[in-house]
Structures are given as C-alpha cells and as structure tokens.
Symmetry: C2
Subunit: 256 residues, 2 copies
DNA sequence: TCAAAAGTGTTGGCACTACACCCATGA
DNA sequence: TCATGGGTGTAGTGCCAACACTTTTGA
C-alpha cells in the first residue's frame, strides 16, 4: 500500500517525528473525585432503626492555593495514565477504596478556576460502601462530611462540628458537589447505583433508607418494595441483633 | 485579617509568583464537536411526506495524523477560552451555526488516542436546524453524513456516496458518535431537545418524524400527539404547498 | 374514486399512589 | 400492652400502547 504524504510531502512517521509538542501552550488537567457514601448513626433505642445520612469525602488543604479550605480529593493526571486510572490513583492515596462504582461526571473548564494556571478539571463520581472504606492513617486531613439541607441552602458538616458552606469549598468544588447530587438523584431512579452504596447483604428497610436519604423524601414501604423486588434476591436469612429479624436480600445483577 | 502562610512561610501571592507551570508535563486538550441535524429529502410524489434522516457533520483530514480519514470538527483549546467557547469557535470555523443547542458529552482520555502527543478530548454535542446551518464556502472538506443502520452495523454516508464505517473515523471519533447517539436517544425521551432540530414552526408529522428517525422506530400518530401536545402551541396557521394543509405548531418553552 | 396523510376516539393493561391492615418483637 | 418496624393486600388513578375510524386533499 502506498504511504500517504501530506502537503509538505511528509509521511505520517516523518510528520510525527517533526511534531513539536511544546509549540502550543497547554492547560493542566486534574481529576476531582466526588465520593458519596451512606453513613449509619448508631442508635441507643433498640426499637428504632439506625438513621442514615449521605456523606461526601473532603480533604483539608494545607497548601496554597485555597489554604485552609476543604476540597475534593484529586490531583493532576499523569501522562501515562487514563482519566479513570488517575481517579482511582488519587482516591487510593486517601482511602482504601477498591471495587467501587466510578463514573465520569463532567469536565469543568472555566478559565480562572485555579489561580496557579489554566486547569481543566475532569470530575468523577464514586459510590462506596462506607464500612469497607477506611481513610488511610496518614491523612488526618481527610474526613467525611454529611450533606444537610438548612432552609434553602445545602451545607456540609463533619462529626467534629466543622461546617462548610458550598461556596466556601476550594476551587469550584461546591459546584461539582451540586452537580453530582443532581446526577445521583436522577440515576437513583432509573439505574441500580443504590446497591453500590450498601454491603452485599441488606434488608429492605436499609435499601429504602438509601433512597430516602438521597432523594430527601419519605417513601412508602409497600410501594417501594413492589418497585424494587425484581432487582433483588431473597437470601432466606434474617438480620438479627436488637429488633425483629428482617429478611436479608442481595442485589440481583452485577454491581459495578 | 491575617494573611495565611503555608509550611514554607509563603503567602498565597508569594506562592503563586513562585509557582512554575513548566514543572510538570501537561497533555493537550481538544474539543470534538458532534453536530446532529435532521435532513429532509425532497420528494416528487406530492402525496408522500418528505423522508427525514439523521446526519452528523464530518471533516476530511488533509493533514497527518489520520490523513485522508474523516473526523469530527474541533480543535485544540486556547488558554483564554472556556471549553464551551472553544466548541463554538471551532464550529464557527466550519459552519454558520448560531444560537444552537450545545451540551458537553463526555471526556475521552485514553493514552494513545492521538499519535502526536497525549490529548484529552472533551466531546460536545450540538443540535442544529440544518436549513439554518450553512457549511462555510472555504470548507470543501466538510460535509453532512447520514447515519444508517446496515444489519447490526452503523455506517455513515454522504450524498456523494462516500461511506465511512465507525471504526474508520480518525482518532476515537467513532466512539464519540456512538456515545452521542446513545445520549440523544435517551434525552429525546425525557427532555425537549427535539425542538432544537426543527425550525420555529413545524407540523406534528414533522415533529414525529424527528422522533422516529432518531429512535429508529415507527410511532403511532395519536399516541405521539397526546404525549407531545402539552409541549407545543397551536398557531392556527396551516402548512400548505402540495398536500392537505397541516396545522403548524411552535415549541412552548425556551429552546436552548 | 383512490391513496395518502391529517386528525380524533376507544379500549385495556400496567404501574404507581395512597392507605389500611396484621404480625413479631423487646421493653 | 405498647411502640416500632416487618411484611402484605386493595382500590383508585393516570399514563401509555394498540387499534380503529373519519376527514381532507390532489391526481
């Protein structure tokens, strides 16, 4: 087959050898990871179900820019890794996540989102099972924050009572959380992502709580179970420990 | 307020001045634009409706890499423009688009998608009204291609009979079109994007054809009209010219 | 009078909602 | 015995698909 030559008479090999990557100014590219998990609040009243809350993982910035602010875990991508690999690598620097649900959210490209230089940020959304996700010891600067609605405003609060308003997050990470919240609420209704937030075995009430806490509304038990029952498989085992035993189920499909 | 200093004793200003952008290798970033339009085939039989087809805009590559292949219009982003601005700029180099629907699709980051260097590609999907979108004269290398299903395979064909199979597109642009097709089919069902593909005034049959050609299935008239009727407004005008006059409608909301 | 499209009506099924009820359990 | 959750049943509503039908038009 004839080797193709361009208008300068170059073959592709010759062209690629002569291509000067430094000719154009290039932006930096980061991945920013929005990690959602469901937290369970232990309850003293054995009669009552444990309450659940929706949380995100934040990192305290000890360096400029946005020193002393909280941000999403992430970092600059390397030249020899894909975006998804970069997301997983930067997550593993902070947590022990493995085998998680990971989905690209959106790419943010405002010109001044980072004061250092032009930075394009590819946001990823991860859903993890909090009980299987430990924050690595080295990272005292990493913590889970609960998403709370106060009036019209969403805020973030950790168990030390530190409150972060969305606009006070570093960079445009408040916008990323808002967008991720929109996405997870939508996808909850037409996909099976909820199961990625739970352990393998769960009760119907626990599953329903996941939906309720993410959608931020009460659901009725009978209707919820009818809707979900073809997605789960009864295990003929009961969850005991405190209250009336509840049937355990597992997800019917592949998880991630 | 006290100026914050980092562990090296630097203020943010000092830090930013000392920040060396060239310290890390950076990828290039492109926008790749997937432009959809509905084409109408004029029909000699006055009895029959004009057929419609779904088309995408492709550019013929006269340079390496992928010389002689077709690709999506797009280009490298500049340091002083947002992603969306880059998308619009690169589109305007090829067509007379204005006031179009534009939506970010997905960001592609495979390591070797471009043989020149590491390139992250942010894909955008645009929906245009073909009659108001002229290809600029300079661009003899730009053309509309119809998406056709041949057996299990999707192919692209322009009016000169040039056929391009998806894997034969330059870069990973075949994957982008596949993904965009998935997106537009989904969004057609739960949003009002269809109206972005039509002129301001249209008949019910024309609107239904848009849905049919994108979803690639026949719909029933009565059911379609019931579903759509709260989204449109009757204009009490008729489209004449050849056949039984049909009521004209316009979209009930804001278009983009 | 015929083919094709414009336009409308009817029916049945399915999914979702609201609500109600009984059962099991530990304090 | 009571509060709480586990688990199930029922009736009503509204959406949607399938299908059938009438009207209008130009050839």
């Amino acid at each position: 087959m004839k080797v193709k030559r361009d208008m300068n008479g170059l073959t592709e090999d010759e062209f690629l050898k002569s291509y000067d990557v430094s000719k154009f100014e290039r932006p930096s590219v980061t991945v920013d990871n929005l990690v959602f998990a469901i937290d369970e609040i232990e309850n003293n009243d054995i009669r009552k179900l444990n309450d659940k809350r929706l949380q995100v993982l934040l990192v305290y910035r000890e360096n400029h820019p946005f020193i002393d602010k909280w941000c999403l875990p992430g970092g600059f991508i390397k030249m020899d890794e894909t975006l998804e690999e970069a997301s997983l690598r930067t997550l593993e620097e902070k947590t022990s996540v493995k085998d998680i649900y990971l989905e690209q959210l959106y790419t943010f490209g405002e010109i001044n989102r980072d004061p250092r230089t032009r930075v394009i940020g590819v946001a990823y959304m991860a859903l993890v099972n909090k009980k299987e996700t430990k924050i690595v010891d080295e990272s005292k600067n990493t913590d889970w924050f609960t998403i709370k609605q106060i009036g019209d405003e969403l805020i973030l609060e950790n168990d030390n009572g530190i409150i972060v308003r969305f606009p006070d997050l570093a960079f445009d990470h408040g916008k990323i959380i808002e967008y991720g919240l929109f996405r997870i609420r939508n996808k909850l209704e037409y996909t099976d992502i909820a199961f990625s937030l739970l352990p393998k075995e769960f009760t119907m009430a626990e599953l329903q709580q996941v939906y309720e806490v993410i959608l931020d509304k009460k659901l009725t038990k009978a209707n919820f179970q009818r809707k979900i029952k073809n997605k789960v498989q009864c295990l003929n085992k009961y969850k005991t420990g405190g209250f009336r035993p509840a049937m355990l189920y597992k997800y019917n499909g592949k998880k991630h």
